[in-house]
Symmetry: D2
Subunit: 135 residues, 4 copies
């Protein structure tokens, strides 16, 4: 599991005074960025033209989040297929331990030059399998 | 079905040159705002302190969206319970008719003053039932 | 002058119930995108690797904007130099004609491949000079 | 001077691979939030209905910012009037010390209930004067 502290921004909140539903995916993505950099040891320039694209996201919102809450994202790798990878992100109130929301994401490995999905390269596969075994 | 044209913004796109996954919910929400104003004939000030909160969102992304694509959101009411309402949003390329992404959202009626879920008021229930029958 | 209608989004507003100060530049940018596409007849892929970058922005906020206000951006070209271009955007309440905010932006022509500022190409210069004469 | 570390997000960047000009104000605002909480020892619920609104922002962008840059905002109070307060935010590359951008903001004290500007309350005035003397 990879734990990523989150710096909330004033504008993550909306007119109702709680986190805007559209911002949840932005904030889960802070965990996804960290997972990709930390576990896969790669970066977002996808300099070889190979990376991941999201194919689905399922978010559950359990409890409102106010500005000032101390939040972290806890990311685990759940499953790996030939071309796809499933991550689970939990948005956790660090002080209480409460899971405020979670997000199940399916990513597909993508060749941006040829614009098609491809098999996950072996070094990334091994890194993900290690994360799955550790979760 | 309620059709809502979308004005894409430059920053809906990301470093990879396509719509950022986090922006999809922002853009589906343009359809949700329109549904709430058009079908429910209410506004977002929730002046009686009663409104809707999202409890879950399931987004599927079928095909990349580039800046300049002519997009609309097509929203249908799928289901209504005592307290909850399920909407389906489709993000459609107006020129080709292709569904680029969709989003199934469960909303719960909420009393912001007392901070608890409540039964959907009758006028809203009737409006949603009418939308369900029309879809 | 180029007039660009704006589709406001729920999340352009903040916890105080009015447009978030950080969103103003996002929304002025809708006018800037339109100016670049309409007056300069170019696009944002900057396929030749030549485009504009912002070097400064001066925004004045005269009056709060609420969700539901009918807004347009009115863009005029104010000045052109060898490498730079100054645009003025006004955020106008279409119903009342009131200028709610304005933004003076200095853009510099930039060669993204060689990562340096360059002289504005002649076709763009002529298009901007035409806009200056029309303002 | 108040120094605020910034957690950059993937989507602070745009299609050109650098920080989107519209995001600068969002990020300077992280410094502004910190200043208000740290120096003024108040919060954003503005529970007495008294707070600050932005009346102008002047941003200068000196050098592009890439994803992964270690950024902090350095905020100083520059000036205080009866009703207004001027802050200067610098966006600094922590590793090199380079000032990548800065922002001069004029804020006005505002009574949200009566919707009018008011004199800055004494405890806030004293806190700001202390910050001005320390800058």
């Amino acid at each position: 599991m990879i734990k990523t502290p989150v710096q909330l921004r004033f504008h993550d909140m909306d007119m109702l005074g709680h986190m805007y539903n559209g911002q949840y995916t932005h904030i889960f993505d802070i965990g996804k960025s960290d997972f990709i950099q930390t576990a896969l040891k790669t970066d977002f320039d996808w300099h070889d033209g190979i990376g991941f694209v999201n194919v689905s996201t399922t978010n559950n919102y359990y409890s409102q989040i106010k500005f000032g809450t101390n939040i972290e994202i806890q990311t685990t790798a759940e499953k790996i297929g030939t071309k796809s990878l499933t991550l689970l992100h939990k948005m956790v109130d660090v002080n209480s331990g409460e899971v405020k929301a979670d997000s199940l994401c399916v990513l597909v490995c993508f060749d941006f030059r040829n614009q098609k999905s491809i098999a996950i390269p072996n070094p990334w596969r091994e890194a993900v399998e290690k994360e799955i075994s550790l979760k």
